[in-house]
């Protein structure tokens, strides 16, 4: 189903906000926002059923522009607020949008424990390998050797994979896309939002202004070309060795498993507690 751009523009954007939006020309955040809106359009959910929560960062500006129930919270705490919301009102479809710094540096603990708890939430993480908003400091996903304002002579620490962290921490659904693979991205976001359990979509995105420029990766167009050339599907990646996979981006669904959801389990525990009290 092709989704007309004017439909999502008219239906979901807050036209009283200043457009064009704040992001730099060619920033991947806009591509992610469009994919999220296409996924929501396809799911035919009413705007009142959706909550979009974010922390602080360039990517976290997204809820400002979209006409859902939105929460723009503190740095790294999108999932914290989302957890409270989901426990108070489990019928809501809660989506969080975070940057790599937001989700895995200051909010790292919240992220792994939200995955471990397996709350019925969706977490979209825009991974641009850098702190975009604050001027290009390194984040937990900045690759070894690359340059940032806090690693002018090359980064001495190692990066980790957000998606693999989510798998290990116990998320029910984990997928990865890049901003070049926009059509795949909206399908993965839809799958994640439909999933009962903690669902993570990591989107590899370009911050050519703070990251690309310092590391001679070119502008938005060149970075998208790199994603196109380096992406391998999960199926293809299974046949490749670790050396062959170096520098590649695995895209698609990495994990999809059924597990008890904590909101449901909480309901059951309350019931058990009530029954036990009746017996006393």
């Amino acid at each position: 189903m092709t989704i007309p751009a004017q439909a999502i523009r008219h239906k979901y954007l807050r036209h009283n906000k200043k457009f064009p939006h704040v992001w730099c020309p060619g920033c991947g955040n806009g591509i992610v926002m469009a994919a999220l809106l296409r996924a929501i359009y396809r799911m035919e959910l009413s705007k009142d059923e959706i909550v979009l929560a974010s922390g602080i960062g360039c990517s976290s500006r997204m809820p400002t522009y979209t006409d859902f129930n939105t929460l723009h919270t503190t740095h790294g705490r999108a999932l914290t607020f989302a957890t409270g919301l989901k426990l108070a009102k489990p019928s809501l479809n809660v989506v969080t949008i975070m940057g790599d710094g937001d989700a895995t540096a200051i909010g790292g603990n919240h992220f792994i424990h939200a995955a471990r708890r397996n709350l019925n939430l969706t977490a979209i993480i825009v991974n641009n390998s850098i702190y975009g908003m604050t001027g290009g400091q390194y984040s937990p996903t900045t690759p070894f050797g690359s340059k940032s304002t806090t690693s002018l002579y090359g980064h001495i620490e190692h990066d980790f994979s957000i998606a693999e962290l989510a798998v290990t921490a116990g998320a029910s659904f984990v997928a990865r896309a890049t901003v070049y693979h926009a059509a795949l991205m909206d399908k993965l976001i839809e799958q994640a939002m439909r999933k009962r359990g903690f669902a993570v979509v990591e989107v590899i995105s370009n911050c050519h202004v703070q990251y690309g420029r310092r590391n001679k990766l070119g502008g938005a167009v060149e970075m998208l070309k790199t994603y196109r050339d380096n992406a391998v599907t999960v199926k293809k990646a299974e046949k490749l060795s670790a050396e062959e996979l170096a520098g590649k981006i695995t895209i698609g669904v990495l994990t999809d498993r059924e597990m008890p959801i904590s909101t449901e389990e909480y309901k059951k525990v309350r019931q058990r507690a009530n029954e036990a009290e009746g017996e006393l």
Binding site: T2, P4, A5, Q6, I8, R9, L13, F19, P20, H21, W23, C24, P25, G26, C27, G28, N29, G30, I31, A34, A35, R38, V179, Y180, A182, A183, G219, A220, V221, L224, K225
Partner: protein, 95 residues
């Protein structure tokens, strides 16, 4: 499987008056107020029909060549592109 010589939508006549299936046409519109001239649509259009003007903002050279893939529409970070099926012109001066 061998193809049947006659089928309901292909009458078995020797005349070759049949017109080929009409090519689907599209119109592409750019909303320059929101466009930031990032160049993504220009670089990735598979038909190379999106051309930059002197400010780097996109325009269409030959809309009849568009295949309606919507790559440009889906990858515009600024919601500045609309691709739609071409509507029949009702009046001569319709644009």
């Amino acid at each position: 499987m061998k193809e049947k010589k006659t089928s309901p939508d292909q009458p078995a006549t020797t005349e070759t008056t049949q017109t080929p299936k009409k090519k689907k046409l599209y119109d592409i519109e750019f909303y320059h107020d929101w466009c930031k001239a990032c160049g993504i649509c220009i670089a990735f259009c598979p038909r190379h029909i999106i051309i930059a003007d002197k400010n780097g903002k996109p325009g269409i050279e030959d809309p009849d060549k568009c295949i309606g893939c919507r790559f440009c529409e889906m990858h515009c970070p600024d919601f500045a592109i609309t691709v739609c099926d071409r509507q029949p012109r009702r009046r001569k001066d319709d644009i």
